[in-house]
Amino acid sequence: MADLAYHQTPAARIGRFGIYAVLALFALYYLAPLYVMVVTSLKSLEEVRNGNLLALPAAPSLEAWSTAWSSACTGVECSGIQGYFWNSIKMLVPAVALSTLIGAVNGYVLAMWRFKGSDLFFTLLMIGCFLPFQVVILPMAQMLGFLGLENGTARLVLVHTIYGLAFTTMFFRNFYVTIPDELVKAARIDGAGFLRIFFRIMLPISLPTIAVCVIWQTTQIWNDFLFGVVFSAGETQPMTVALNNLVNTSTGVKHYNVEMAAAIIAALPTLCVYAFGGKYFIRGLTAGAVKG
């Protein structure tokens, strides 16, 4: 391949070394914040003040973690981030499940049961992906008020489901259009109907797409801040909002070790998703990109 040229001259060998050096330096740039967060969270506040960013903790302790989890102040409340962590879980699970399931059915229809106007519908949905959410949040707040939906978690499930549908539909539709029509035709000749074909044939072969979709939605919803801060208040706020409150509204002494522990806790779920489903995560990102 292209690198053959590199092994020929000493100059090329130096060039090759340079490439590795640049790649390694960038690896350090990306890893540094994670390293700093972890070591800071394991230090005592005194050590944070006296030491420096990169120093390893002299006596590693999880005290900052337990403070962050159960007694740190997020605004006026001082009961840690645990409640908000569970809020995010309670919002995440139904929103991901609903948007994935509805997206799968939509994609199935748009790929295999096209009707007059279905392509237009898909186009409209895709254009919706480009909207900056700032342009819909004021009416959404009004509408949630009309609906009388008071519970912040329920509001966020609804909002995340609705605004996730464009992407989940796209993932499944783009997968199902690659399935040969003959499969559906044969199944119909055998007497299978719309729902049977979906549940018995399509869903079982969609597992990779389901993984892409679930991972995409999980990271989107868990990491969201705008909807969280706009549509929920007080005790129903999600994790990201609580973390921001903890970092930005604390007065007096800044507990950097606690802040870092809280930030890591907030990052852990999506980091785990990335660690275990990285392949699907990247596929989702690039699928979204190809779409634009």
Binding site: V22, F115, L125, F194, R200, N248, G292
Partner: protein
């Protein structure tokens, strides 16, 4: 067959051969009717939701922007007063200028770093998988987490500055995050940290799609590698540049959480952005109309970038 979730009407289809043919025919006619109606029924909720919550809400916001709504919405149209107020608001223009500075640098450096890493990674690098994993993990984080981490590292008293002092560079100062003239650049640093790995992944996928034969042919013709990249490889990545640009521009325009966590729009309003202006006027300051007007300008900004792109994409598709 085990019972399927598809309900009773479908079991009618499974007529055994001994079943009277008339019954089978009417059952399948019924089945066929179901198959015509059901697809429309199942997509109807999404159709309604997207029409209302995307397009309806944009019109609703547009309407609000033409009213005198303050804390509560009013629906009497008074014309363009909110836009006049917006355009004579110095804070708004400062926020737009910040968006220009942040967006421009963020997009440029994310593209540059992403392309550099992708080209280097494409040179048959050992441990490529591990490096890719490292470069891309920030994309899995919330901007709030990114902002929190960088806020701590850029802290002049205890962060990077102190680290350099400990290393013996006692004159080193790095106070950008508290310096109103420089704070916006810290947003760029954190933003590029988070997004450049993603751009790398896009470019790498593009590079892997290029036919090796073209590069080999150019080498046979005596072209050196940098020339091949400059003249052949990078120009063929044009579509990737386009989609990366679009995504980055989109991230920049709606950028909100990163600034909230990193600088809280400060010091003062030095890192204010249109999204923060919109949020504060629409939700905290009881200026619904002004918030709606600023949201419409954000939409127009996004459209100004997306529409030409889509247009050129569609045109090249038709040609191709």
């Amino acid at each position: 067959m085990s019972p399927s979730p598809s309900g009773a009407q479908l079991t009618l289809h499974e007529g055994s051969p001994s079943m009277p043919s008339l019954q089978t025919a009417s059952a399948s006619r019924f089945g066929r009717l179901v198959d015509v109606v059901l697809p429309k029924i199942v997509v109807a909720p999404t159709m309604v939701a997207s029409l209302v919550c995307f397009y309806g809400f944009v019109l609703w916001t547009a309407w609000l922007s033409l009213t005198e709504s303050r804390i509560l919405p009013k629906y009497e149209i008074v014309g363009l007063v909110q836009y006049q107020e917006l355009f004579s608001n110095e804070r708004w223009w400062a926020a737009m200028k910040n968006l220009g500075v942040f967006g421009g640098l963020f997009i440029f450096f994310s593209l540059a770093v992403g392309l550099l890493l992708a080209v280097f990674l494409d040179q048959k690098i050992r441990r490529e998988g591990a490096l890719r994993t490292i470069y891309l993990y920030p994309m899995a984080l919330s901007f709030i987490v990114t902002g929190t981490a960088w806020k701590w590292m850029l802290n002049p008293g205890l962060g990077l500055e102190k680290l350099m002092h400990d290393f013996g560079f006692s004159d080193f100062t790095f106070d950008w995050i508290v310096n109103p003239d420089m704070a916006i650049y810290t947003v760029v640093i954190a933003g590029v940290w988070q997004s450049s790995g993603f751009v790398m992944a896009l470019f790498l996928a593009g590079l892997r799609g290029i036919d090796d034969a073209i590069i080999k042919a150019a080498q046979v013709d005596g072209a050196n590698l940098p020339t091949i990249y400059r003249r052949i490889v990078i120009p063929s990545l044009r579509p990737v540049f386009f989609s990366a640009f679009m995504i980055l521009a989109h991230i920049a325009i709606k950028s909100f959480d990163l600034v909230m966590a990193l600088t809280n729009a400060g010091p003062g309003l030095a890192t204010d952005l249109p999204s923060i202006f919109m949020y504060q006027h629409g939700f905290n300051r009881g200026q619904l109309g002004l918030g709606a007007a600023s949201a419409m300008i954000m939409l127009a900004t996004a459209a100004a970038i997306v529409v030409p792109f889509l247009y050129s994409e569609l045109r090249s598709q038709r040609r191709g």
